[in-house]
Each structure stands twice: as C-alpha cells, then as structure tokens.
C-alpha cells in the first residue's frame, strides 16, 4: 500500500505533467524572474528560578523557539518551507514541540484559474466555523494541512476549492484524515445584469468530513463525521450583513464526553459605517461544535474549525493578560456591539484635532440546556434551546476609550473597562490559586504620548485594576522611550498591591531594550513575567510565571 508521502508525490507529478505539458506553462514561466522571500524569528529565554512568583526551575536554563520561512516564486510557481527549532521549547509551550526540522513545505502553481497546492497549506472556509487551518505561533498553534488542495475559479463569480489531508501534530501528523469542499458564488458577477446592482451578494457553502478509525471497544463510534455550512454576505450602500450556519453530525469525542448529539452554530454580524461613525452588532450560538481530526485530543491540538470570539481583544496589559475570555466550543451564546465615532475637530467638545470614541460591549452565556439521562442508551447528553442564553453568565465586558491629540506634541488615550468573568468557566489561576466564582473588575487606563523633539518620543501608560475577588487590585506603569527609527527602551512594572494574601503583594518589573534596522529587529528583555493567559481571537494558552533574560530576533527579506 502506498504511503501518504508517495501518494502525494505521484499525484503532484500527475498534475504537473498534465497541466504543464498541455499549457506549455514552462515557456511562459521561463520569462518570469525568480523571487525569494522569507523571514526569521527567534524567541529565547534564560530562566532564573523565582520562588516568590512560583516560577519553576528550568533544567536547561536556556530555551529557544526558532522559525525560518523561505518562499520562492517564479511566475505561476511557488514553493516554500519552514524550519522550526525547539531546543527545548519555551516554558508554556507544549513540550512535544521538541527538536528541529521542516514541518512545513509546499509547492503550488496557478494555471488559467486552476491553483494546485501539494504539501502543507493553510485554508479557511467562511468564518472558519467548520474549517480553519492556520498558524498562531504565539499560541503554539499550528494545524496546517498536509495533503492536496485544488482551487478553481470559473471566472464568472463561481469559485470552488477542495482539499484532502492530515493535520500537523507537533512534528508528526494527526490520525484523522480531513476531506473538504467549498463553493462560493458572487451573484453580482454570476448573474447577468447584477454587476452594477447596489446590493452586493456573496453566497457560499461547504462540506467538511473527517475520518478516524474506531478503536473503542465499548462504543460504536462514527468513523466518518460530516459537517456542512452555508453562508451569506450582503452589502448595500453603507450596510453589510454576514451570516453563517453550520451543522455537525454526531461526533463523540473527549471534548464532549463522547456524546452523540449533533452540533450546530450560527454566526451573525451586521454593520453600518459612514464618515466619522461606525457600528457593528454580532451574535453567535455555539452548541457542541468542537471539531478535531482526532477525537481524543485536547487543548489547541488538531482542531479542524475555529469558533470566532465575540469579545474585544484587549491590548492593555492588565485586561489582556489577567481576564481574557476563551471561546467555549462545547456551548455558548454570545453577543457583541461596537460603536466608533469621531467628535468634530475645532469644536469645544472635539478639541483642535477631533476626538475618537470607541464603545464596546460583549456578553457570553452558557446554553439554555436540559440534561438527558441516556448515558447507557443513545448518549445524546442534553438538549439545548436554539439561540437562547442560559442562566449562567460566562463573561461580560463594557468598555469605552477616548483618543485625542492635544497639540503637536501630546496625544492622550483614556480607557475604562468593566468586566465580569465566571471563573468556574474561564479557570484563571494565579499565585492565590484560582478563585471559584465570578470575578468583577474595573480597569482604567491612561496612555500619554509626548513627542519630545523630532525622532524622540516618550510614552507612558498608567493602568489600574480594582477587584474584590481573586487577586484583588493591580497597578501597572509603563514608560517607553523611542529614538526613531532605530532604538527603543521600555520598563514596565505590574504590582498586585491589593492582594489579600500579603506575601503575594508582588512587583513584576520587566525592562526591554531593542534595535530596529529595516527588516531586522533585535530586543533584549529582563525581569519577571506573571503567570496568566495569552489569548488570540478567543483561543488561549497558559503562560507560566517566569523570571530571566529574553532575547528576540526577527528578520524579513
């Protein structure tokens, strides 16, 4: 029986010989220049033991994560590879990222609307609710596909893509095979006379199926699990509307305690914008939508889909690292609203340069569900009402920020956040352990930028978090000096001054210094980093406490 790699090679050759020969593509490509691009990224840390913040002792003392991408293109052809090195992986990353190698390599070509990729690739259908293969390096997440992808653009607004492959699992591949097809129709291009229609409509549908052998002696598991979705994007003048509904057939897994209940999800987003004003309202219903190519996996491993988060991704340190929210794939109903507007410049309320105001609010609830006692029969587990928030609130965030340029040298941004996180769901841990209940927090931020003289700028951040629960009150101060375009130095101190446990009233000082030159950036940092969660788009990674020297190098060419 042919192995997967051999099959890939044969299919690649088949595609190439057929398509290239018939179209004489080689002759055309020979005229195009060869371009080589790439980038390099090294994150390393020398660890010091720090029992005060519960930073663990690292046997190796020094750990690195290194990545290098090289991409070569020549006309319609493109090939690339990524080298990764974890000697050993930084703390907080899965230790199965171990050693060095080329986990990502691909070859692709375009020919008259046909695009073929063999090897590794990333892909997303619609919002990603059924399929999103992507890399988020800082999360240690890479569920790249390894297989074949074919895209075809019919040229009349109809586009189809299909793929088959297995997903990356550290330096190996997952057990399951993913098969998927997606079709999209731009109705304004596909229907005669609609081209100049003010209403722009795009519809799409996809089907994703995974195969994994049933090796469970005590349950009959579905080896093929199918899921399908439909989506629409509509735009009319300043309005736009996006929606996607997905349905997943029975998919017992470790995530759902091996229940056979089908999953479903609905995502809706509507927005309106005009000069100086914009509003966006979003809502989603997620029910049993964890979808992995290996039913026994956990964390961020071998996820086929991505469930978009409906919470603001904060950037200020306290809000971003203490109480971020992770999407709950087993079930949640969530809502979010954003309003952005600008107060007119040269008015008493807008100031000389105008003022930008952003208001955001998000809410997430558990499902309105009822348990079913069928563990020994049909194993449906529970029933849930569609789009009906349950009694348990998971997360709430109301925040407002104002940005105003005061004069040619001063720029100010102020922000207030009011948050509630249900820690029985989000499960934040810290030096105090983990608080078992709802955490309410008020956070205020003042961010001031002062341009001292041309090329010289000083930025200061003052942050405060007040909470009666968990670790109590925090304060953070950041000072950053930039000498453009090459140098920067910054210090930050986080202080848990309100911790009810006196010994945990700890300072977390951290300093960083860096040099930038074109595509190169080198920075050194030293100090304490508190334990917390790092989240991107509702997907999170636990970051352990650490103390030591960090060295970061990035370069692109």
């Amino acid at each position: 029986m042919l192995k997967h790699k051999q099959l890939l090679l044969i299919l690649s050759i088949f595609f190439l010989t057929n398509v290239l020969h018939s179209q004489n593509v080689f002759q055309e490509v020979a005229k195009d220049p060869l371009e080589i691009h790439g980038n390099f990224n090294l994150n390393s840390q020398y660890y010091l033991t720090d029992s005060v913040i519960a930073a663990p002792t690292v046997a190796e003392k020094f750990l690195i994560n290194g990545y290098a991408n090289v991409i070569a293109t020549k006309g319609a052809f493109s090939a690339g590879a990524r080298y990764e090195s974890y000697e050993n992986a930084l703390l907080g990353f899965d230790p199965r990222y171990k050693g060095s190698g080329f986990p990502y390599r691909y070859f692709s070509f375009d020919n008259k609307g046909l695009n073929v990729t063999v090897g590794n690739f990333y892909e997303q259908f619609g919002t990603g609710m059924l399929l999103r293969s992507y890399e988020e390096r800082d999360l240690g997440l890479d569920n790249a596909m390894d297989g074949i992808r074919v895209k075809y653009d019919f040229g009349n607004g109809i586009r189809v893509k299909g793929l088959v492959g297995r997903q990356r699992y550290f330096f190996a591949k997952g057990d399951g095979i993913v098969r998927a097809i997606d079709g999209e129709v731009n109705l304004n291009e596909a229907i005669g006379g609609w081209k100049d229609n003010k209403l722009k409509l795009l519809v799409g549908a996809n089907f994703v199926s995974k195969y994994q052998e049933d090796n469970n002696p005590d349950l009959v598991l579905p080896e093929n699990v199918g899921a399908y979705s439909g989506r629409i994007t509509a735009r009319y003048a300043n309005f736009s509307l996006t929606g996607e509904y997905a349905y997943k057939e029975n998919d017992p897994s470790a995530d759902n305690s091996n229940i056979y209940k089908p999953g479903q999800g609905l995502f809706l987003s509507a927005s309106y914008s005009q000069k100086g004003f914009g509003i966006n309202l979003s809502a989603k219903h997620i029910d049993n939508m964890s979808f992995r190519s290996d039913r026994t996996e956990g964390f961020n491993n071998l996820t086929i889909n991505y469930l978009p988060a409906l919470t603001k991704q904060h950037t200020y340190n306290l809000a971003a690292t203490l109480y971020p929210y992770a999407t709950q794939p087993t079930g949640e109903v969530a809502f979010q609203g954003d309003i952005v507007f600008r107060l007119k410049k040269k008015t008493w309320y807008g100031g000389k340069y105008g003022t930008r105001i952003l208001i955001n609010s998000s809410l997430a609830y558990g499902l309105d569900s009822t348990g079913i006692n069928d563990q020994n029969t049909t194993r449906q587990g529970y029933s849930a009402k569609f789009f009906s928030p349950g009694s348990q609130a998971y997360f709430q965030d109301i925040n407002i920020s104002l940005e105003r340029k005061l004069n040619k040298t001063f720029k100010v941004k102020a922000m207030y956040m009011n948050m509630m996180v249900n820690n029985l769901i989000t499960r934040y841990g810290g030096l105090n352990g983990s608080f078992g209940g709802k955490i309410y927090a008020d956070i205020a931020v003042l961010d001031v930028m002062y341009k001292i003289r041309p090329k010289h700028a000083l930025r200061a951040e003052f942050q405060a978090l007040w909470s009666d629960q968990d670790m109590g009150d925090w304060g953070t101060m950041v000072l950053e000096y930039t000498y453009s375009p090459h140098w920067f130095v910054a210090i930050i101190d986080q202080y848990n001054y309100g911790n009810k446990v006196e010994k945990n009233q700890i300072h977390y000082p951290y300093g960083t210094f860096g040099y930038i030159n074109g595509g190169n950036r080198v920075s050194l940092g030293f100090g304490r980093q508190k334990a917390g969660l790092f989240c991107v788009g509702g997907v999170c990674r636990v970051v352990p406490a650490s103390n030591g020297l960090t060295i970061t190098v990035t370069s692109s060419f």
Binding site: P56, S209, L219, N224, N250, T377, G429, G433, G436
Partner: protein, 304 residues
C-alpha cells in the same frame, strides 16, 4: 458541463462521508459478570428485583487520575481552590479525574463556640494525613498518591502536565464497575472486573473502595466572603468512609500478564446521616508497596 459534473461527483463523495450512529452500543457486549442473586452482602436470599434496588455501571477506557484534596471547614483559603479544582474536573477534565476531599488535621477541628460542630474527619482521612501530611498545609493536593501535597498554585500546572504527557490516554488497567444498592437495607455491593492492559512483574496490587458524599451544606470559613463564616457552604466530594483498608485491600500479587482479568466484590453501608442520592463509590487499584494508584473510577450509589 464537465466542470459541473466534477463538482457534483465530489459533492456526492463528500456528502456520503458521514456515519450516523443511532445506537452507540450496537453489537457491543455489556460489561460485568452475572449478578449473584443468592446472597448479597450477608443478606440471604436477597431479591435483586426489589423496587428499591438500583444498578449503576461504568467502564473506564481512559486512565483517570484520583485527586485527593486536603481541606477543612476552618480553612478559609480552601473554598475558592476547591471550587476551582472541581470546576476544572467537571469542565476541562470531564471524565478524566475523580476528586475526593480529605478533612483532616487542624483545619478540620471542631470549634463548638463558633458553630463548627460537624465532624468531617474519617479514619481513612486521618490515615492519609498521617502518611502525606497534607492537612497541615491545606488546601493541598495529591494526585494518585504519587506526590507530596502540592499547594494550590501548582494544581493547574500539575494537571496540565498530565494532559501533555498523555497520561489519560495511556491506561494500564481497565475497570468495569457495577454498583448494586438496596435502599431498604442501605447496603450496596460493588463488583469489579479488572483487566490489566500491560504486564507487571512482582507487583502487589491492592483495591480501594471509598464512599464520598457531594453537596453537604454545612459551615465553612471562607475568606473574602462577608461574613467569612458561611453557614451553608456546599462541601463537595467529602470522604465519608472507606469500605476497604485506607490503602486498599490485597488483590493480586506477583507477575501479571497483559490482558489478564481479575474480579472482586466489596460491600458497603450508607448511614442515616448521609444522603444516598449524593453519595458515590470511588474505586481504585494501586501498588501495595508505594501506595501509588494506577487507575480509578467513580460510580453513583443510586442511579439518577
């Protein structure tokens, strides 16, 4: 036309790639050996068809971790840690972890003048404190009786390490547990079928059976609450008794071959003070010499 035909074919192949399972147990032999209906924990001619007899069975194919949390009703820092631990096991580690709360040492002492009058201590809990000393530093946690009691800040990391190490997917022992409980006589029996999935050499195995009670509403010190002496705190998974010696009853000794199967039964009683609806049986198999636990399982005394 060919293009559209191609799409149709691919779509058909895709749509057919889905298995709908109506009966998750179709063709699968139900576990557990036949019920002995002639005697039942010393009661002769026991009628297993009595209405107040309930059956509950479970099978563990994954490796479950037994988490024993040292706590006490005077431990004001314990409640949030306990809630966090239970939440993690119920949500994140669903079906992979079993929690038992050990009330022992100073934090479990009675202070009648302040209303701490319920004695949650048990001989088994006291033995466990005597061996591992976790009660003095509550909240603290031992996992599979294989570590010195860990403080709460370490719990997440320890549990996450288990996940990362592949612990849950590497069972060395498979349990099939059946519980039979009779409400009239408040007596139950646990039948175990155990299959060793790996070979062992010169290992002395013990089996432990504990009774725990969930949702006991009683007084608890809770720092951060106002007042901090909470009257009706929800105590979770408290050990009520052990139906075997604390570190388990002798089971099989010596060399074990892979796929070797062994069975055993244990009887227990539920006292009038406990709510049988909230009681569970925790069963584990461990090493007699170092006391470490290989596999654990939990089944409710009464089926829901």
């Amino acid at each position: 036309m060919k293009k559209y035909f191609f799409i149709l074919v691919v779509s058909f192949i895709g749509l057919s790639s889905c298995d709908k399972i109506d009966d998750p147990y179709e063709g699968i032999e139900k576990p557990i050996t036949a019920i002995d209906t002639t005697t039942f924990c010393g009661f002769a001619e026991y009628d297993s068809e009595l209405n107040d007899t309930t059956y509950n069975d479970t099978t563990s194919n994954i490796r479950k971790v037994l988490l024993e949390e040292y706590t006490g009703h005077l431990c004001g820092f314990c409640p949030p840690e306990s809630k966090r631990l239970v939440a993690k096991t119920e949500n994140e580690l669903k079906g992979k972890a079993i929690v038992m709360s050990i009330h022992a040492a100073n934090f479990a002492a009675l202070v009648n003048s302040k209303g701490y009058t319920t004695d949650f201590t048990t001989p088994a809990g006291n033995d466990l404190h005597e061996r591992y000393k976790g009660g003095n530093s509550a909240p603290s946690l031992i996992m599979n009786r294989s570590n010195t009691p860990a403080s709460a800040s370490q719990w997440n990391g320890m549990l996450d390490s288990l996940e990362i190490s592949g612990f849950y997917t590497d069972p060395v022992v498979k349990f099939k547990v059946r519980n039979i409980y009779n409400e009239t006589i408040k007596t139950g029996r646990v039948d175990l079928d155990i299959e060793f999935l790996k070979a062992f050499s010169g290992t002395n195995f013990v089996v432990g059976v504990y009774i725990t009670e969930d949702h006991i509403l009683d007084k608890q010190k809770y720092y951060g609450e106002n007042p901090e002496d909470v009257d009706n705190y929800d105590h979770r998974h408290a050990i009520r008794t052990a139906a075997t010696p604390t570190f388990g009853a002798s089971f099989v000794n010596g060399d074990i071959t892979a796929n070797q199967k062994e069975s055993s039964s244990f009887c227990y009683e539920i006292t009038d003070e406990w709510n049988a609806d909230n009681c569970s049986i925790v069963v584990f198999i461990g090493n007699s010499d170092n006391k470490q636990i290989y596999q654990a399982e939990e089944v409710q005394v009464k089926s829901e």
